[in-house]
């Protein structure tokens, strides 16, 4: 079926008659000349007419008219939609409502987008078209009704685990019903292509009727990061004279951002390339409080105040992840680690509550022997100081922590930390790198202790952050820890290979798998339109045809072919 993006341009179609009209007009205004040797002119003209038939001239006019027609059609934006006058349809829409469909991309959940796609399936539906909507996470059942009715009142049920195999089985049953007979069976599967939804599909896919038109609508966003975690950190080293150099490093996991990041300490900023791992050097004139920023779409666009003591060799690391990123376990699984493994179960990593760190020397002893110790705040250690940051001088004994304030003594009043707190740290524990957020985003502070490392996770103690290890904000941080631990334990383990900068979504079905399961299926990321078939734009072929005709016109003209009345004015010699 032919349709046009700009049908108003079709009003220009009568322009195709222009060559013929101009020809007629030219004939009327032709000047007549009296001439003595018309005898000879006639003889010569007859000879020429015998050599060059008049149809050449008509052809020239036709070519010009065709060029105008093609140009008008081209600007009207013609699109061809295969199918034409197709028989009535019996369409079954299978909508994936597994938990992964709750993922937010471009301001809406995948499930909301799937519901929108399902409603679009009815666009252009005829009165005889039937439809059923089946949900993978629910009991797959339904009855035939008019396609418009079936999709008009669609609303997504709560996310639930499921498999499209159940939906396919139900679809086979529905197509065998009397209502569907004589109609073209169509299957539209709207999903985010997660492997978990296709586990039991093999057998059923091959058992589908051959004449079913299968289309998979992939609702995953093409523009947003499918999967991205970043860890930003810096190390302060002595620079020239009394100055310091801060080496800021950004690590990105999953799909790197296409645009560079801008990191800054205080007023000095630098651009970090959008690579998996990149670092820049920022000179600092003195120690003290700096605002650490990293702009480029990450949550730590929020400013982080960093206290840099006048002692070299301190490190600070801030981890963050894209909003809506997967949970801790899912991220680890994506990295090739054992699914479901917790940070605590990783060899070489110990997770201690802050109260345990403070009250026992066990954590420090573990770190000194080479372990990685992650200290997480808890009620006992951090207390409930709303809106305030937990800071711990890592190398200090609990006594010194206490002397330094341990958990700094600041009240609920905002802003006291930056002044009294940092100032106190500077005088009492100058070797500590401390960081605080100004907008409640959690961060981590790291320090080498003996052969090992201690990581202190600092966060406002709001109920939102009680479960730090599964907080999306710490996915990258925890993942980095885990990968490093795995690499230490197994030298053959290559985090870069397992994690790297792969742009593919490892949890989704690959194209080849889809082709194996559904050899005749169409997989598209475009929303359904019309009768669910993509239309083919025809501008390019039409423009090419017009160009060819113009070349043909030029060739004809070069061969001396002119239109019958191509001379409006006969000039005098």
């Amino acid at each position: 079926m032919l349709s046009f993006l700009n049908p108003l341009y079709l009003l220009l179609l009568p322009l195709a008659a222009l060559p013929f009209l101009l020809n007629l007009i030219k004939r009327r205004v032709r000047l007549r000349l009296r001439f003595p040797s018309v005898q000879l002119l006639k003889i010569v003209e007859e000879r020429r007419a015998r050599r060059k038939p008049r149809w050449h001239e008509i052809l020239l006019l036709a070519v010009r008219a065709a060029v105008i027609l093609l140009l008008v059609f081209t600007v009207a934006g013609p699109r061809f939609t295969p199918g034409g006058a197709a028989p009535p349809r019996a369409l079954i829409a299978v909508v994936d409502n597994s938990p992964s469909m709750t993922y937010v991309e471009e301001g809406e959940t995948r499930l909301a987008r799937a519901a929108r796609y399902a409603r679009s399936l009815a666009t252009g539906a005829g009165p005889d078209d039937l439809g059923v909507v089946l949900w993978t996470g629910a009991r797959a059942e339904g009855d035939w009704q008019g396609l418009r009715d079936a999709t008009a009142t669609i609303s997504a049920p709560p996310a639930a685990e499921g498999d499209i195999a159940d939906a396919l089985a139900a679809a086979k049953f529905l197509w065998s019903a009397a209502e569907a007979r004589g109609r073209r069976p169509e299957l539209a599967v709207i999903t985010d292509m997660q492997r978990s939804a296709f586990e039991d599909v093999d057998a059923l896919a091959s058992a589908l009727p051959r004449d079913v038109d299968v289309t998979f609508y992939d609702v995953r966003s093409e523009v947003g990061p499918l999967w991205n975690v970043a860890v930003a950190g810096f190390t302060v080293t002595p620079g020239a004279g009394d100055f310091f150099d801060a080496r800021v490093e950004v690590r990105q996991y999953g799909r790197p951002r296409p645009a560079p990041l801008e990191v800054g300490l205080g007023r000095v900023t630098a651009e970090v390339p959008a690579a998996a791992r990149a670092a820049v050097r920022i000179p600092l004139t003195t120690g003290g409080r700096y605002e650490f920023s990293c702009r480029g779409g990450y949550p730590f666009d929020d400013r982080v105040d960093v206290f840099v003591p006048e002692t070299a060799g301190v490190e600070c690391e801030v981890a963050s992840a894209t909003p809506g990123a997967r949970s801790w376990d899912a991220a680890l699984a994506a990295a090739g680690c054992e699914e479901g493994a917790a940070l605590e179960s990783t060899p070489g990593i110990f997770v201690l509550p802050l109260s345990a760190w403070r009250e026992s020397s066990r954590g420090r002893a573990l770190a000194e022997r080479g372990a990685v110790v992650v200290v997480v705040p808890d009620d006992a250690g951090g207390g409930r100081f709303d809106g305030v940051t937990t800071v711990l001088p890592l190398e200090a004994s609990p006594a010194r922590v206490s002397a330094a304030g341990g958990v700094l003594p600041h009240a609920a009043s905002a802003g006291t930390f930056e002044t009294a707190g940092v100032a106190a740290l500077k005088t009492t524990a100058p070797w500590v790198t401390a960081a605080a957020t100004s907008a409640g985003v959690p961060f981590a502070v790291t320090r080498r202790v003996g052969k090992g490392e201690v990581f202190l996770i600092c966060a406002p103690t709001s109920p939102r952050y009680t479960n730090f290890l599964t907080s999306a904000a710490f996915v990258g941080f925890g993942m980095d820890l885990r990968l490093r631990a795995l690499a230490r334990a197994d030298p053959a383990f290559a985090p870069a290979r397992a994690f790297g900068t792969s742009e593919s979504d490892p949890t989704a079905m690959a194209q080849e798998d889809m082709l194996r399961l559904f050899p005749h299926a169409v997989v598209t990321r475009h929303a359904p339109g019309g009768r669910g078939r993509a239309s083919v734009p025809l501008q390019s072929p039409l423009a090419a045809a017009a160009l060819l005709l113009l070349v043909a016109e030029a060739l004809l003209a070069a061969r001396g072919v002119r239109t019958p009345g191509s001379a409006p004015v006969a000039s005098k010699p």
Partner: protein, 297 residues
Amino acid sequence: MPFPKFVDVLTLAAVQGLGLRARLVAEGLFVGLHRSPFKGFSVEFSEYRAYQPGDDLRLVDWRAFARSDRYYVKEFEEETNLRFYLCVDSSASMGYPPDGPLTKFDYAATLAAASAYLALSQRDAVGLATFSAGVREVVPPRSSRKHFRAILNVLEQTATEGTTDLYAALATLAERAPRRGLFAIFTDLWDLRGRVLDGLRALRGGKHEIILFHVLDAAEERFPFRDAASFEDMETSEKVEVDGPRFRDSYVDALAKLKRDYRLELGAYDIDYVPVVTDRPPAEVLVSYLGKRQAMM
């Protein structure tokens, strides 16, 4: 200021009066040929006599000298039986270009009048005939100087009109000129070729010597039209639509072939064929032709 060798056509066209125009052309002839072009025009060889000092060396017959080792001088006598007839085509096509400074007829009349002036200067008898579909005006041959005025009067008063029928005209003239004569015909030859040749054959049958000046306008010769147009015949009002630039080469080729054919066919009858284009100074045309003619004699 030296007198120009040949007065160009535009200057000539600006000169009022055919008589003055003819004299200008004739002056050009005198300058161009340096001696009378008249010898060989209407005189005939008579006898040889022995060379005497003071005789014109040009009259010495060098071939006779080669044979006999003596100098002989050729003597001529006026051919009293020979008449010089000027026949000018006055059909409508000779009026081309209708709005130009000098039509083909004007040009042909200038050539004819200049020739008459020269011939009368040599006391030759000169007659005139104008023709189109038939003979229109005839001025019988006379040799008096005053006769030049009569010829001019007819040429000046003749309007171009009617179709061309060379056969009818020339056959009539052949009948009216029983005595042997020299015919100079000025025409554009836009007639059926068979009729043209028949007419010339009829005239040649009377033992007349014929010089045919084929007079064409520069536009006819080169067809310089930049666009197509509907061309209407000046004599028959027939129309034909042709495209100037595309058509030009074919037309020029066809005209060249026509002239080549005329040259061959007329040559077979000992008729001198002189193609003339009206943008060429008339004196130059005459000098060129007469020069060749003198060289041949």
